[in-house]
Symmetry: C2
Subunit: 575 residues, 2 copies
């Protein structure tokens, strides 16, 4: 009931409220951002060809998470799949204090069962361009992925300016299912996944349906009249920050916008000393921000194109339309799309990698020495007749009990307590020859790192099981950013570190290992938890191309019950 007496009370309340807001505004920085997501199979036609896609709230790519540095993200993830479990990784987010939210099945959690809702809760502590994607089996390839965009804290500035901010994820796409692929990879005889059918730009591609039998078009399985390439509309004169990410399952890519240069300004959340490129090489798991000015003839549209590099170009280029407003966004340019660099020009790619250095005003100086160096020889092996990827001849298999739980809850039988090899016979090994399979084994041992120690990892590429063949491997580290100390051709010589950049190395979470080359990184083991480090090619990871680091697990807080339920963690809820 309102009375006249209420009025002053209302006024008082309002005044108190205003005063409170005034008082607290300067300290309000972190917001809580909540998302309710359901992961479900859906018939979709990303490249005009209909197949089952794992969608988030009906979308693939899923919803973009927009946040500010310091915000807390809460994602209540419901598994709406039928018989499949799931786990989602927040790629590039270090999960400081929340290692159980890293979403890496087998490392930080049990998989989320169908019907279950799992809460991921973590702080996005740094601004930058990040990703999320499934991290179980090969489910990422089935379409469960999306963008995380974290803006700077209030009052902070970035060392570049732009008018608009846009996210684009590049991907490669197959028409068969990930189950079909995974089964082939783990069969005798080995059945390779082969090259993708399409390249997708922000979840859209154009597969030419006429390549299929007429019945496929008749039955609506493939229909070129009902799908269109992605378009990015720009206003003439404006400058765009394009956050370009790759979540390919296999392909290394080059990205180019017809007639427009790009200035690289950010890589994996770190500011880059800006430099201009005609096109950008990008490897699965990497993110870049580039600045593009809409400064060309505004009477037409332009192609944005992505092409395969480092492997022969089987899929046609992925095309999007860089649309100058007010031209029609679906009007294809009459010019041919640019073809980018030669697919086999390794030098071109290594040179671009070497150019990416920390912005001069944002240098995070690395420790000048390391406490430990682990050298990882990247080879294929044949083990018990199965074709596998190995590090120092050990092909990683994940135990049933996730490492984080096994170590924290002292379940030593959950995995091999012996660490994998620290190095390989680098003096005698011929990286250009076929592996001879000496001592090649499966293993689930891990590297235990002294807390706060500085660790160098040398990734050494080497020939595969087939003569004269070598792949580019994008290596991704969970829970940390690392300094990229260097890249070099041929075999790394541990006696000669002169090629390390200890002055202005970029920090990243994903780095390419080029063909017949080495890559050196350094990081500080200062994040309590267990962390995967692996090749980001979906099939390579599935075939064993990973290692796991554990550090300071005794400092990890009480593990949530929600990550339990598998392996040795079965049973009724603890009292």
């Amino acid at each position: 009931m309102g009375t006249l007496l209420d009025f002053p009370r209302f006024l008082l309340t309002s005044l108190v409220l205003v005063f409170f807001i005034f008082l607290t505004t300067p300290t309000i920085e972190a917001k809580i951002r909540r998302y309710n997501w359901e992961v479900k199979y859906k018939y979709m036609s990303p490249d005009c060809y209909q197949k089952l896609v794992i969608a988030v709230n009906g979308k693939s790519p899923g919803p973009t998470i927009l946040a500010q540095a310091g915000d807390m993200i809460i994602v209540n993830l419901k598994n709406g799949l039928i018989t499949e479990n799931v786990a989602v990784h927040w790629h590039g987010i270090r999960q400081i204090g929340t290692p159980w939210s890293d979403g890496t099945e087998g490392v930080t959690q049990c998989p989320i069962l169908p019907g279950d809702t799992f809460q991921y809760k973590f702080v996005v502590d740094r601004p930058g361009t990040y990703l999320y994607h499934a991290h179980y089996g090969m489910q990422r390839e089935a379409g469960l992925y999306g963008s995380i965009r974290v803006s700077v804290r209030d009052g902070e500035n970035e060392p570049f300016s732009y008018d608009e901010d846009r996210s684009i994820i590049l991907n490669d796409w197959w028409h068969n299912s990930t189950l079909v692929q995974a089964t082939g990879l783990s069969s005798i005889p080995f059945q390779w996944v082969n090259e993708p059918q399409s390249l997708l730009i922000q979840g859209r591609g154009i597969f030419n349906c006429s390549q299929l039998s007429p019945s496929s078009s008749d039955t609506g399985i493939c229909n070129n009249t009902k799908c269109y390439p992605y378009h990015l509309t720009v206003v003439p004169g404006r400058t765009y920050r394009l956050r370009i990410a790759s979540l390919t399952s296999l392909s290394a890519l080059n990205f180019e916008i017809e007639g427009h240069n790009m200035t690289i300004v950010e890589a994996d959340g770190y500011y880059v000393e800006p430099f201009v490129v005609k096109n950008l090489n990008i490897y699965s798991g990497e993110t870049y921000s580039v600045l593009v000015k809409a400064d060309q003839d505004p009477s037409r549209n332009y192609w944005a194109v992505t092409n395969v590099v480092s492997r022969p170009r089987k899929p046609p280029p992925g095309l999007a339309i860089f649309n100058y407003y007010p031209n029609h966004p679906r009007k294809s340019p009459s010019t041919p799309p640019p073809t980018g660099p030669q697919w086999d020009d390794t030098d071109y790619r290594i040179n671009q990698s070497l150019k990416i250095k920390a912005h001069r005003d944002y240098i995070h100086k690395p420790p000048q020495t390391s406490d430990r160096t682990i050298i990882l020889l990247n080879t294929q092996n044949t083990i018990n007749g199965y074709t596998k990827w190995s590090l120092n001849n050990v092909s990683h298999i994940f135990p049933e009990t996730p490492y984080l739980i096994a170590i924290k809850e002292n379940l030593p039988h959950a995995f091999d307590q012996n660490p994998p090899p620290e190095t390989y016979d680098y003096k005698n090994y011929d990286i250009y020859g076929k592996p001879n399979n000496t001592n090649a084994t499966f293993g689930n041992g891990i590297y235990r790192l002294e807390f706060n120690s500085t660790v160098d990892i040398i990734l050494q590429n080497a020939n595969m099981m087939k003569e004269h063949s070598n792949d580019t491997h994008p290596w991704h580290l969970h829970g940390h950013d690392f300094w990229v100390l260097g890249y070099g051709k041929g075999k790394f010589d541990p006696a000669n570190h002169t090629k390390f950049n200890l002055v202005d190395p970029i920090m990243k979470n994903t780095v390419p290992l080029h063909q017949y080359s080495w890559t050196a990184i350094r990081f500080i083991a200062n994040n309590p938890g267990t962390w995967a480090f692996h090749c980001h090619i979906e099939s390579h990871f599935y075939m064993g191309m990973s290692v796991v680091f554990a550090e300071g697990v005794d400092r990890v807080g009480k593990l949530p019950d929600s990550i339990m339920g598998c392996g040795e963690t079965k049973g009724l809820r603890r009292p």
Copy 2:
């Protein structure tokens, strides 16, 4: 160290051992039969078309379990799937004292996670013909199924004789994946699975590859030159016991052997008063033993053929060769395969159902009255836009915590404690009209049965959402055999029980509900546990066509930890 003194000790030990064996031999009846199975995806071509199949130890159908009544079966089942869980049901085995081994995900156990090994341990207490198959999602349809054949105890006789014993499972087969099908069934708009591409006899069929685009044959996806129909070799003059089972996902079938009559002698493990048929109608989940004498012209082979009944015949007949030794087993008969009865001859099928009665010397007399009658109206409904199957307008959904654990461990929030409706408005309901969706809901409530009480279930068929359409539903009860009291056309009148057979009803675990008809069954709720009762059509079950009974759960022994891990049973192993 061996000394001379050891010799007499050895002799003594041997003598004791021999004596022990002698003493115990007459009482050794039950054997323990152990199986180590791995469930894994495999590329297979059951009907010449290559697809992913869920195989057991590389086979589909999986290995046959051969046992004797009273034996204990131990199956260590390793889930070698990639991201999918699994659970295996032992169809027809009552699981007396071991309700946690029934293998029904959501009812008796949490699903088995990838990498996990689950031990099923149970006694096959009765002789007869049984089955096993996946009971999670629609995985049965993906090929995880097989036979269980239990012989009589030593010294017991069967009321018929034969020379050879053979098992045949009939099945229907689709070329798309169960995930594609399940997604369509749970989508808006609803997408039906459509009719199967093939009918399989003992896992083999012949799809005509020329119906596909040439590329499918080129790439080896479909190849008619590399697959053959199943053949059953018989020696002229001998009598064969054919154990015929159906594990179709959709189709009701008729089975016939060209030129040979069959004598039905067993149904679902119970002896039938023998009668001769030209062909056998068989519904998914049913098993029959028939006697066939190889008494025809031995200079040629004959067709064994299975055809769809109760639905229009889209798939071609499933063909096998009834091979008279020494004719070549792959030599096709020059005669056309028999076509069986008209697909829409419902009377023919009801009449055969009515003929199946208990063998006069093996009558298990049913209780003459029941303590409770539950009437279940079988309809489709549209709920929140989804097309579902319902009982009394409730479409069943399974809770995350299996009922057995929820009740035994007193977790009442795990599911709705209110039971579903006991009956429907049978006075006014028009079973020939479209359901009007009154009060149609999803539900996970169950029927709690008083321990040792006698329960009647009346299944009432009714029109689907489409005008003038009605399906045959094979209903399967877990944990019990029931008496088949009767079948009748039209609407069941609770006031008129005169059609019940209380004299010599057959006992079964699966029974057809014919089109626009009713089926009445009776059972005694004397098996402590929680038990699914459901339509055995894979898509109907997936769409909610099930109920659950609970009885005497307080009498169930300590639940094994291995069934935990989902829903409210997450967390570290109990101390």
